[in-house]
């Protein structure tokens, strides 16, 4: 039985670095996806939605990857503390931004923005 647990421990030691690296890489890719969304979406309110990908899954996956690669359990505790604070504060800050924009009277664009609407935009620009 002890050998079995030792085997699991050894396998985990080998596996956790590639897993953590993959999670970090995926998180970084999701951050880039969020940035692409911020650049593509039409107005302030929709851009906030794209930024929330970076806030939740991007930062979350990077931190999970760091926790997997951590050399000591103390680091894991710290990483999870960072994750908790990040999840609470990024949400609060995006709510503060949206609420400030709404209070200042910025009107959101409402309604479907499909292909046709997008093409009209293009024509207006030229």
């Amino acid at each position: 039985m002890a050998e079995f647990f030792a085997l699991i421990g050894n396998t985990w030691e080998i596996v956790r670095f590639p897993l953590g690296g993959a999670a970090c890489l995926l998180g970084a890719i999701l951050c880039i996806v969020g940035t692409i969304g911020v650049l593509r979406f039409p107005d302030f309110y929709t851009r906030i939605h794209a930024a929330s990908i970076t806030d939740t899954s991007g930062a979350g996956l990077v931190l999970i990857g760091m926790a997997l690669m951590a050399p000591h359990w103390i680091i894991v505790v710290k990483v999870f503390c960072i994750m908790g604070f990040l999840l609470l504060t990024s949400v609060t800050s995006s709510h503060a931004l949206v609420n400030a924009a709404h209070t200042a009277g910025l009107q959101p664009k409402i309604g479907p923005m499909g292909r046709s609407v997008h093409e009209e935009d293009e024509e207006d620009r030229h």
């Binding site: 969304g37 709510h95 709404h102």
Partner: protein, 162 residues
């Protein structure tokens, strides 16, 4: 008194998890800082139902994994929206009515809506929430009913009808 004990254990766990030094001198400093922190908290009068919400711990332990899965699901939707070759979104603004009673439950609900990509809480007035969403279909008031119910169950158990 129970709130004080729970606050002490929370501070204790936080210190032990973050320090990594367990020599007598460091533990003495730790005890000193616990005492100062507890005295300051007591003077600020934040050791109460909201400051040390241990009664709701199990409710939250049940709620947050569910919320995490919701976040993953809606993340996928927004990632597809970001990377689609042709922009295909229909932003909408809806007004919701929540069944949450306490401030903490309302904040949890509003924060959960904001944390889920694709929906952002714009404003809270009494028990009405103004929510901006990226897709009209996902932002109907019915879509938030389950989250609302789970928030009410997690954060104010006493007030929710069984």
């Amino acid at each position: 008194m129970a709130y004080l004990v729970v606050t002490f254990f929370a501070i204790f766990a936080f210190w032990m998890g973050n320090s990594g030094h367990y020599k007598p001198l460091m533990l003495g400093f730790a005890a000193l800082s616990f005492a100062i922190t507890l005295i300051l908290c007591a003077r600020l009068k934040i050791i109460d139902r909201e400051g040390a919400p241990y009664v709701r711990l199990f409710g939250w332990l049940a709620y947050y994994p569910w919320l995490a899965w919701e976040i993953v699901k809606s993340n996928w939707v927004i990632i597809k929206a970001c990377l689609r070759a042709e922009l295909d979104i229909s932003p909408s603004l809806v007004k919701l009515k929540t069944i949450c009673k306490s401030d903490l439950a309302k904040v949890t609900f509003a924060n959960s809506i904001t944390m889920t990509p694709g929906t952002v809480t714009v404003e809270i007035e009494g028990d009405k929430l103004l929510v901006h969403g990226l897709y009209e279909a996902n932002t109907q008031p019915e879509a938030f009913e389950e989250m609302d119910r789970r928030c009410a169950r997690a954060a104010d158990p006493a007030e929710t009808p069984a």
